[in-house]
Symmetry: D2
Subunit: 336 residues, 4 copies
């Protein structure tokens, strides 16, 4: 049974990850790290874990982590991750990285969008993007998996099959996403202060969100031609969930049924993508690893509507799905 | 002082209307009608009005209403309104109609989108669309004003100046709107049951929402050419507020500053439109008659982001703004 | 593996029950009944179950249910349950009943609080009250288990050990409870309409809530003397969760530590009660079968604060806990 | 027209105060202070005020404030207030103080509950407690008014008339209050981080909340005997509103109607207290200066249920009510 370390254990993705792994028959959590002073018990930081996991938040070096764990889930901020991953890999641990550090192929693109030089640029372009629905064959043997961003997963899953089938134009794709507040993390800020975002809705980082190049890259790979999406994220007064509405130009004259059937065929054998006829709500996928997708044609434009739980299929559930594939467990283990 | 009757007094728009009119020095509410059994006191139906308005919900014929009131605010469902308005007008009352019955010029378009024959088709095309920012000159003498829909106001205000200035293409305009639940009215339904829509977000009536032809018509008038928008409304877990994000093709090479300046110039003298540089949140306009607007250029596409309170600028506030213009009061009376 | 039927499958408790049972290795759901027209697929009624459970909502007689199932979970309204349970038991099925029909010992008390004659009065007084923490020994052999109410569980768990230990007076116990809206069920009503209860908090059924005699009875049994609690429930704008604050007179001079230790000792071996030092929030137990409890002494009064998820420990989780005990499975199966 | 300065202008009470004063025909806001760097425009800090108030947040000494303003509303933290008020008063300005600094009569009690020595102890005991319903006659001539706390107002208004009439015992009064999150202010903290308090409810500061001695003191004054209440505040996932449920022992055999009639009589001429028969919800008083109150007798215990908007009747509305009385304006000016 792989021994597991979780780095950055005080946040929401770590919390959800722990809850999922506690249900996993083949995973043993042996360490949870964080920078909290005084090494508090995890239940002090996450009261919902009271009586569930008897570990303290430790401050460990990569070498110490590698000595204890076979597999590391890195719930760390971008920048920090790339400074630790090389040592972890050298130490022989496998890594599922939640940060954006290993998702982009091009260090220049990383530098442009993240305002910093990449700490491990040679590795870029060789790391598998952990979206099993598109890249499953590369995952079993990967020492390092870049766990996808929440928005990218919600946008790529509906669009990739349509681009692949040539049903939509790769140019001018509009992605209007709406997310719950947990996507902003657990650090208190005025923008995520209860009385600021409750009963309010707003757009943010329009055209400047860092998930943009990630979506560009994966859709570009799928389409076989450069893609530049127009991406506008919005903040919604709810804890969790992403609803993504996309608008594309059809490549040819396509019917709604054709679009839906293309999606259904593409995901026929996927355990965690549900192509549905109705307009899905984020609550349908709340707390699950599912991404629900549908499509419509409106006045000649192809629309997709998709939703998922940003902390599960958009983060910790996807990470365990990758873990299951990496270690040869049934892919849905602990995820249903 | 005009004597005022409110038809359809049990709903949310009537409640907000009453609250605004109670602050108005030149308006006396003399009747509130509704179909509730037993003519309950308004405070029974709206506890927040306890001690504020000593009237009961009556069931009155149009003739009875016309005998008592100088001006009627009709908060009635579409279809019902057009069956009463002709008699009210014949009785000499002026009418601000909240329903969709008099917003469209073409009875055929009405029949197509509302699945019913119009009851008063001859009047269509002659009724002023009560958006003062575009049609103010026609309002003072109007016997009947069609109060705009909430979504249309949120979409027309940012787009009209850009179309008028020729900055954006009239074809392929995408309107992605997000609304609070009060827009769905006060009748209990599963879709507006607390535990169904709380902590969930979904699209609804995609491409089929009845506000579509209304937006088409007004933007078409402004652009001087037919417009067919792609309109996708979404339901957000909050009481009030609409946030509308639009995506258009620029007609020529325009800068973000040029777009913003066009909006600023157009609304320079407007009391209730605020063109802002930041990305506005619905809470900024909560409970007010303001519509806040900004714009961005993202990868060559023109985006506008606007917000308003669907019950105020999207309904009852706009109605009082029209009333003030109709009766020659300062336009902001009771609205600040 | 027991074959399971769920009666009343369209509501929230049934939905949570299905989700839990789908994780249970020793339970096979063979039928879900409801009165919905046209026998829709469960995924039509509960979109979150898409791809999870391939059954339709059927309308079955008790005999048909008994022929197909070994164990029935009855998620039916009070009154309805008692009209079906006798036939189910005669047919040899075991029943976990979510309704209030078999919780009270005295048909007169039932008639008084529920405004109806009991349909199966002879059975009252012989049915185990399915709160394992107090009545575990009687559950394994029970053909019928009365699953406790959500409020009673939240109040009885903190108070019973203190009454049993003689630390608090059985007279004048005040129970101030706050619940999320899912406790009101899934039938749309004005009181549970999103825009009525969002951003509002209110008391309801003060002194008249039907869970009152249930709390009286169980606490009275524990205390060995009649108990009459003062119970005031409140509605909170959230989906789930009950927070119960109780106020009692100490029977003698007791310290806070003594009260806490009494609770800790009483629940030392319980898998689903967590006695904590901090003031718990309902989110700590969200989606879990845990009840979190703490206590304080304030100016000589003993306060307990407890919370649980009304749909899990307050309904479906408790039901599966009972099921596990009835069938000899480890008590936490499918519940962690 | 009095020139008004608002100290501590970046918080929620200041925002509401500004909104109310902008409607006031006899108040001119001349200065808003705060410690924000760079003296930002108020609309930068409060986007909802865009176009409403053209002032910047200044850092002013008490002397500078006194030179410019006739009346000061102090929205400052406790401790800070008492260090400035003496200079303001010496400068000839009148002060409505929102902090707790001048509410308690006894510097020792202040020191005990607020963990600090009082900076202006001689003044204590001579400052009017600005609850007009109890102390109106002392307000017109007061140079300094201590604006009541939000919880105290919600508890004192229902209890004071019953104590005064001798209907309830002054001993053992239990006050279970539930508040929206805005009561915690605008400074981001983990406890008021959206995803921490949304969908959760919890008790906090049980028995230790600083409003306790304030309630004790005023009820003690009314009762003519020392009062020590058992006070448990709770945090509710909503922006605004306090619902307070109190439990008292009747002093004699009283009926529910007698209790209600005592309340009705006491508040018969009050513009902002509404004694109602139904159980009020916080939404009934949302955004208003009303406090709604009802009462019930449950198993021999007297319960009151009251609600108000913590930012209006619990803070800024009450302050303007005091201001109106201080300056001889109609008491409801700008408050309806």
């Amino acid at each position: 049974m792989p021994r597991i370390a979780i780095l950055g254990g005080a946040g929401y993705t770590a919390l959800e990850l722990i809850k999922i792994l506690l249900r996993h028959p083949e995973a043993e959590i042996v360490a949870v790290t964080d920078l909290h002073e005084g090494q508090p018990h995890v239940a002090m930081i996450h009261p919902s874990l009271t009586g569930r996991l008897d570990l303290c938040l430790e401050q460990l070096s990569p070498a110490e982590v590698a000595a204890r764990a076979d597999c590391v889930f890195g719930c760390l901020p971008h920048g920090v991750s790339a400074s630790l991953v090389p040592q972890l890999l050298r130490g022989g641990t496998r890594v599922v990285d939640f940060s954006a550090d290993y998702r982009l192929d091009d260090p220049e693109v990383f530098a442009t969008w993240y305002n910093q030089k990449h700490a491990d640029p040679e590795r870029l372009g060789k790391v598998v993007y952990g979206l099993p629905e598109l890249f499953r064959p590369q995952i079993p043997d990967a020492p390092l998996v870049a766990n996808p961003g929440c928005y990218p997963t919600s946008a790529i899953l509906p669009l990739a099959p349509l681009l692949k089938a040539g049903l939509i134009e790769p140019r001018g794709i509009i992605i209007d996403s709406k997310t719950g507040v947990s996507g902003a993390g657990r650090t208190p800020r005025l923008t995520t202060h209860y009385t600021e975002c409750n009963e309010s809705m707003s757009a943010y980082n329009v055209g400047r969100h860092r998930h943009t190049p990630e979506i560009d890259q994966i859709l570009g790979t799928v389409a076989g031609t450069p893609v530049e999406v127009i991406f506008a994220p919005h903040l919604v007064p709810m804890d969790r969930g992403i609803l993504t509405t996309t608008y594309s130009q059809p490549a040819a004259d396509v019917s709604e049924e054709q679009v839906l059937q293309t999606l259904r065929d593409f995901y026929a054998d996927e355990p965690f993508v549900r192509v549905v006829d109705h307009l899905p709500g984020t609550k349908d996928s709340w707390g699950t690893n599912f991404c629900d997708i549908t499509a419509r044609i409106v006045r000649g434009r192809v629309l997709t509507i998709s939703c998922l739980d940003n902390l599960i299929k958009g983060a910790s559930g996807a990470a365990v799905q990758n873990f299951n594939i990496m270690y040869g467990y049934p892919e849905a283990t602990a995820l249903l």
